[in-house]
């Protein structure tokens, strides 16, 4: 057996080694030679601070009592780390972007930098961590006693004897010294505790090696391989039949929550993270570590139950088995492993908790009471460091007191789970805040407080066994004697075990309040801003937040503030980096939003977001949050989607416009061509008579030998040609006027039949002259249209005279028929001439075209008649069209709407 002094000496040497590692780590970090300090391996090993003495000693105890259930504590974190992509990655990214200092800081920062929320989370964490720290002190003390052979029966692992509290006290003091020395060198949590992390990594290796060594010794030393170990086991040890019930699920979920919510885990995983990619390595390396830690737990438990005396403390099997086997080196290693797991947990937890206490409780109170007014004298930095050191001592003192009060009663595992259940109350607000935009601060605060109170009443306070606040009377009879308020059977729910019972009620209240109030209440602008920055951390570039908060402050004031909190050197460096070194002499320039935001983030890295916001607010004037800007970055996806939709719509519009433009362009081109045609036709038509007029006029001018007869004939020709020219010009003018609506139209209620009759009369002479039979099939009575009678008969005359003039048939006839339908008055002018060729059907209505050009040589008429007629009909609201007739000849149809439709019953 080892003598107590040897054990003490070895423990002290080991502690000295840890100090050396921490010291070297710190010095290397200061010199900027981080090297292995920032490797993913060290990062992963530091995360294994999760495996405390509760794991080292307690897992075996748990396995001896409940079989495989011990594994749930490690399966939860395994799943969280294997699924790092979903959750941890986001947490670590937010931690980097916002300079988060603790879990309380992250939660409060998410909910609008709420100081109240940060304080509540801190309070819960402190209360929940106290039994956990006590547990570590107890484990170290008891293990030292066991290995030092101080107890009457060392191998029994002190099931009942009192721990040595003096030893426990000095262990606590030693841990406080180490933590203060290496944990509070600087106040910026973002600058990381490289020395501490290095020491923790060494301890992580020691505890793993120690547990593996004990395991190998058990399996291959005491027993003869795994088969032999399990052969010794009673079949009941696995509890296989009832282990995989609700408790299996709930404890796995609880441990999964704990790996992110425990302040020390948050500290090593998020705050001490130097590179996001390290998380990728930890995603498999940490589960591997947990698997290896768990690997020999069951064999050690089985062997302990088998070989050690009846009634031995299973929580000490890891230590007592090597002692029983007289393997002193392994026993010593196991002791150091347990010592390592306990000290690493206490150190990291104290750093994390003291940071939380100083940032979220001491600092806001100090600001409120004016102890450290940002504008008055006094070094905030020194104050902060002092408060952190006091915080560390306070945590260890609380832990020691709990240890002193609780002494030796409870099994290690149940204390750990009580602590887990307390910390897990943060989970709904935390996870909800990272993924749910609507979640707001009041809801988080209400849920958190309710959950924590129920946890305290149903699990934490009763765990004192009636010694503290909740008396044994309350436990058995309920608060105020009301049975439905019994802590272990709230509202009569008495068939669940206390852990599940407490978790059920606390989470019911917590989640219900959180979700309900989030739905019921709208968030404040700052909350909405933070919600967006957190939920969309991968989609919102960090810099886009700067434009959102409008405020201004004198650079001088800000500089003063930075100096007080960060120290003079640090502040000067920071302001130089930001390009806002204070000018000497001249008036202090105003700091812009970007500078204030950067400074606030920097300060948040030291004193937490809520306190940073509070101190900045003291020197800042006119803080407003631009809601418009906020809405702009509110949802990047939405924005991108909107943008692409707009683009699509625009391109569709553009396409339509282009198509329209194409059509218009085509029409314009056609019109241009038409105009050119028209002009050339006009010049041609004008030129012909002008040429003859000129030539005859020239003849008359030179004509000395002309007789009067000839002169008279020439003059007549000139006269006729002038008339023709005038007619042509009149027609052109007429057409122009009709087309542009300038011709004087006197619309009146007219009988179109009268106009038709007058037109027929006018054409009778021409018909007789040309030998064309004119058949009039007219005689509609009572049809009244609104029309200009002269214009109407102009159209009829034009149609009938065309039909007569261009009819080349041997027995020519022209038939004119009129009728009235329900709404229209119609006139058909049909002939048995050559007709209009198919390709000219539309053309004949354009200017200067003669549909009959192919039939005979151009005679009188400029080819404007049909064009004018059609325009006139349009002005009357009617139509003029070429319709299929009865024979081969052309058939024109004139349609006019009736003025009084009812009177036309023909």
């Amino acid at each position: 057996m080892l003598s107590p002094n040897v054990v003490l000496a070895i423990a002290l040497v080991y502690v000295a080694l840890l100090f050396a590692v921490a010291f070297i780590g710190d010095r290397r970090a200061r010199a900027g030679r981080l090297g292995w300090l920032k490797s993913p391996l060290v990062y992963t090993l530091s995360i294994s601070v999760y495996c405390t003495s509760w794991t080292f000693y307690g897992a075996v105890g748990s396995a001896a009592r409940g079989g495989l259930e011990f594994a749930t504590i490690y399966i939860g974190p395994t799943l969280v780390f294997v699924g790092w992509w979903v959750f941890l990655r986001k947490v670590v990214r937010i931690g980097h972007v916002h300079g988060t200092t603790s879990i309380a800081d992250m939660v409060s920062s998410r909910y609008g930098k709420s100081p109240a929320l940060a304080a509540v989370v801190t309070l819960i964490a402190v209360v929940a961590a106290t039994p956990y720290i006590a547990l570590q002190l107890r484990a170290v003390t008891v293990s030292a006693q066991v290995i030092g052979n101080a107890a009457p029966d060392a191998l029994s692992g002190l099931p009942a004897a009192t721990p040595d509290f003096t030893l426990g006290f000095w262990i606590a003091v030693g841990m406080a010294v180490f933590t203060i020395l290496f944990g509070t060198r600087n106040i910026d949590a973002k600058e990381r505790h490289h020395g501490v992390v290095a020491a923790i990594a060494v301890e992580a290796v020691v505890k793993l090696v120690a547990l593996l060594a004990v395991g190998v010794m058990v399996v291959y030393g005491i027993s003869d391989g795994p088969a032999d170990v399990f052969a010794r086991a009673s079949p009941e040890i696995l509890h296989a039949a009832d282990v995989f019930g609700p408790r299996w699920i709930v404890v796995t979920a609880l441990s999964a929550a704990a790996i992110v919510c425990l302040p020390r885990e948050f500290q090593v995983t998020v705050v001490e993270n130097t590179d996001e990619r390290h998380l990728r390595t930890a995603s498999w390396l940490f589960p591997l570590y947990l698997m290896l830690i768990s690997l020999f737990v069951l064999p050690i438990a089985i062997a302990g139950l088998d070989v050690l005396p009846e009634g031995s403390n299973p929580d000490m099997f890891v230590l007592t088995l090597p002692m029983w086997a007289r393997q002193e080196a392994i026993a010593l290693l196991a002791f150091l492993g347990g010592f390592s797991s306990a000290t690493s947990m206490v150190i990291v937890a104290c750093i994390a908790l003291s940071t939380m206490i100083s940032n979220h409780i001491v600092m806001p109170v100090a600001l409120r009471l004016g102890w450290v007014a940002a504008s008055a004298g006094g070094e905030i930095r020194g104050f902060l460091l002092a408060s952190r050191r006091v915080g560390i001592c306070l945590m260890l003192l609380l832990g020691f007191l709990y240890f002193r009060v609780k002494g030796n009663s409870e099994a290690l595992a149940s204390i750990g789970l009580i602590s887990f259940a307390g910390c897990a109350q943060v989970m709904p607000a935390f996870v909800g805040g990272l993924f749910w935009r609507r979640a707001n601060g009041v809801a988080a605060l209400a849920g958190l407080s309710a959950g924590a109170l129920i946890w305290a009443y149903t699990l934490f306070l009763p765990s004192f066994g009636g010694d503290f606040i909740v008396t044994s009377r309350i436990i058995s009879e309920g608060l105020f004697g009301w049975p439905f308020l019994r802590p272990y059977a709230l509202f009569g729910l008495d068939w669940l075990d206390p852990l599940l019972h407490a978790l059920f009620w606390s989470f019911l209240a917590n989640v219900a309040l959180f979700v309900g109030l989030s739905l019921a209440r709208d968030a404040k602008p700052l909350e909405r801003l933070q919600a967006t920055l957190f939920v969309d951390v991968f989609r919102t570039p960090g810099a886009s937040a700067t434009g959102l908060v409008r405020r201004s402050a004198a650079t001088y004031d800000l500089n003063l503030l930075a100096q007080r909190i960060l120290g003079a050197d640090e502040a000067r460096r920071l302001f130089r980096e930001m390009g806002a070194a204070p000018t000497v002499g001249g008036p202090p320039p105003l700091a812009d939003d970007a500078l204030i935001t950067r400074l606030e983030r920097k300060l948040a890295g030291s004193i937490g977001a809520a306190s940073a916001h509070a101190v900045i607010s003291q020197v800042v004037t006119g803080e407003t949050i631009s809601l418009d800007e906020l809405m702009k970055i509110a949802d990047e996806t939405q924005r991108v989607r909107d943008y692409s939709r707009q683009l699509e719509q625009k391109s569709r519009e553009l396409e339509a416009t282009a198509r329209e433009l194409g059509v218009v362009n085509e029409r314009l081109t056609r019109l241009d061509l038409e105009k050119d045609d028209f002009l050339s036709q006009v010049s041609h038509e004008v030129r012909t008579p002008m040429t003859s007029i000129r030539s005859f006029a020239e003849i008359l001018l030179d004509a000395r030998g002309l007789d009067a007869n000839q002169s008279a004939r020439y003059l007549r020709i000139i006269h006729e040609e002038s008339i023709r020219l005038t007619k042509l010009l009149d027609s052109i003018l007429d057409l122009g006027m009709v087309e542009h609506g300038e011709a004087p139209f006197t619309l009146a209620e007219t009988d179109p039949e009268a106009a038709l009759a007058s037109a027929l009369r006018s054409c009778e002479g021409l018909a007789a002259q040309s030998g064309v039979r004119l058949v009039a099939d007219v005689g509609v009575s009572g049809a009244i249209v609104r029309a200009d009678a002269d214009r109407l008969s102009q159209v009829f005359i034009n149609l009938i005279s065309n039909a007569i003039k261009y009819n080349s048939h041997a027995d020519p006839w022209v038939r004119v028929a009129s009728r009235a339908t329900a709404r229209d008055y119609e006139v058909l002018v049909e002939d048995n001439g050559p007709g209009v060729r198919h390709e000219e059907r539309e053309l004949i209505f354009s200017k200067f075209s003669r549909g009959w050009a192919h039939t005979q040589a151009p005679t009188a008429g400029a080819g404007l008649g049909l064009a004018i007629s059609r325009q006139i009909m349009r002005r009357h609201g009617g139509t003029l069209a070429l319709v299929p007739g009865t024979g081969a000849g052309a058939c024109f149809q004139v349609t006019l709407p009736l003025a009084r439709a009812d009177s036309a019953a023909a």
Binding site: K38, S39, P40, L41, L68, A71, I75, T78, L79, V80, F81, V82, G83, W84, W85, V86, V92, R93, H96, V97, G225, P226, A227, D228, F230, A231, P235, L238, A240, A241, F244, G245, W248, I249, T252, T274, D275, E276, R277, H278, R280, T281, S283, W284, L285, P287, L288, M291, S294, L295, L298, F538, R539, T540, P541, G542, A543, S544, E636, V640
Partner: protein, 108 residues
Amino acid sequence: MRAPARTEVSGAAPGAGASLVNTPQIPSRLRDAASVLPLVGLVLLMPPMIVLFTARHRIAGVPLIVLYLFGVWVALVAGAALLARRMAHAEQVPGTAHDGGEDRDADA
């Protein structure tokens, strides 16, 4: 080269920033697989699945349930390690801006 530095760089170009921040160089298949892996673990390690392996059967003297539990555990570790390695690979192929030594010694 810390992660926030990357964020800042992308923040300088707000329009393109959104996609840059989200590490697009990692193929979506890997990203989705990384999200699915914990669910697979959850199904395998939770009832009712795990209850199927509670039969009193021993393989080489070790109870089936113990082998199953640790087998799934090792498989999850292997799956996560494989994904991590392939992600590191995918990240290093397009740009070799960072040294990458850290990931290499971790995978070793």
